[in-house]
Symmetry: D2
Subunit: 140 residues, 4 copies
């Protein structure tokens, strides 16, 4: 594993440990590399909307977390500016959702990341695009 990928993993682990959300959601980091992250979460009853399917906010939250680990992976503090999500199919209680974030582009302080959210069985649930901005400071 390259030093860049080792750094990425450390950053993701530290971010998760610091945050209130990931632990509260049962979020697990499956992989974190330079410009890349894959996380998963099991859908609980308290993550469902009034139709008894995954609340869009929780699907977004999982994708946004993968995006955060990927865009901070170089240990340069980076924040989300903007994000878009398309909801393609519902998910239900007990489903394990996996969000995989890949870096599409970087230009100056701006970055673009594409995140696919699928069930563990590989059925697509949502596609997310995130736009980041690097600010001053390091994560670690």
């Amino acid at each position: 594993m390259s030093e860049a990928d080792q750094l990425a993993r450390r950053v993701a682990d530290v971010l998760l440990a610091r945050e209130g959300t990931g632990p509260a959601w049962g979020l697990v980091i499956e992989d974190a590399l330079e410009g890349y992250a894959r996380v998963r979460m099991r859908l609980r009853d308290d993550m469902l909307n009034g139709h008894k399917t995954a609340h869009g906010g929780m699907i977004f939250a999982l994708a946004d977390s993968a995006f955060a680990y990927a865009c901070n992976s170089r240990n340069e503090a980076t924040v989300a500016q903007n994000a878009t999500i398309a909801f393609l199919a519902p998910a239900r209680a007990g489903d394990v959702l996996v969000a995989e974030a890949k870096e599409l582009s970087r230009a100056g302080k701006n970055g673009v990341y594409q995140v696919s959210v699928k069930t563990a069985a590989g059925r697509v649930v949502a596609e997310f695009t995130g736009f980041s901005r690097t600010v001053s400071g390091a994560v670690l």
Copy 2:
């Protein structure tokens, strides 16, 4: 209060009662009218990211909830297709966030809603645009 607005309020109350998310987040419906909803939530520690500010997923989730109540307000089952959010300023633990959803347009089964997320003091935190699609069935 018009019958349409009374119906909107009943739909929102029923949706909130049915869902796992709103009660888990402490979400409160301040107002629900035809094509309109305003909700609030107090930011808890388990809603913060690794920078100790509101996780984008929770800001989105609040806006998405207001959007859901607004786009289902006519008691025609309606789902989110797509949403975009811009994060404009951070929010912190203890802040009360208010999301206000307004209907911009409807055309056939499609609707567009604009949701502003502000602190109770009126400072803007995020702007959200949601695109909905009416499906078959009623909410109530």
Copy 3:
């Protein structure tokens, strides 16, 4: 008319005069105020896609122009960072499209604008949300 609104109109007129696009498209500025612009364009055959309806790129281009005049209205050079558009109904050759841009929020260098695109008869065609960033320099 306030000084701020007079300045907005001058900025919009100058931007239109400088650009290659607006004159090529027959774009007309109907109104330009602080944080606001309304423009129109008649759809020509060379603006249609393979279905003989308005090409999404031309609908976007009209909305993006209104957004540009609105977000530069204070004579502080401002650029588009990001934009989202929902296409709600088709438009056809000969239709006059009107794009009306309104400022939703500003926070630091960031701004959010909502642009509705309708036919002159008032039928909604698209809803656009634009995210701007103020850079250094003035327009005039």
Copy 4:
């Protein structure tokens, strides 16, 4: 070349021949495969904004065209529902812009496509995500 890819090429060629926009813009199809398209366009003076850089509308229009060829590639009539674009760096008169559209997901009638816009030299200009909906009918 597979039959699916041959069909995709025919669909793209027919769409371009039918439309008013592509020929007016000097758009060239470099490649069109199942779920994929790559197109290019040289930036002319009448495609520039008031800052003398590529108008966002023209960058979007090029990406949207690649998206249209990709999402119609199976000869099932498909329209854009929604699109998001991030502008990452300016482009100037004379630059050749290349837009490459790839299919991310399909679920029922919905599809998601990612389009990168770069200069011929490979410098990224914009990233676009398009959401499509298949309607009834064929293209050819």
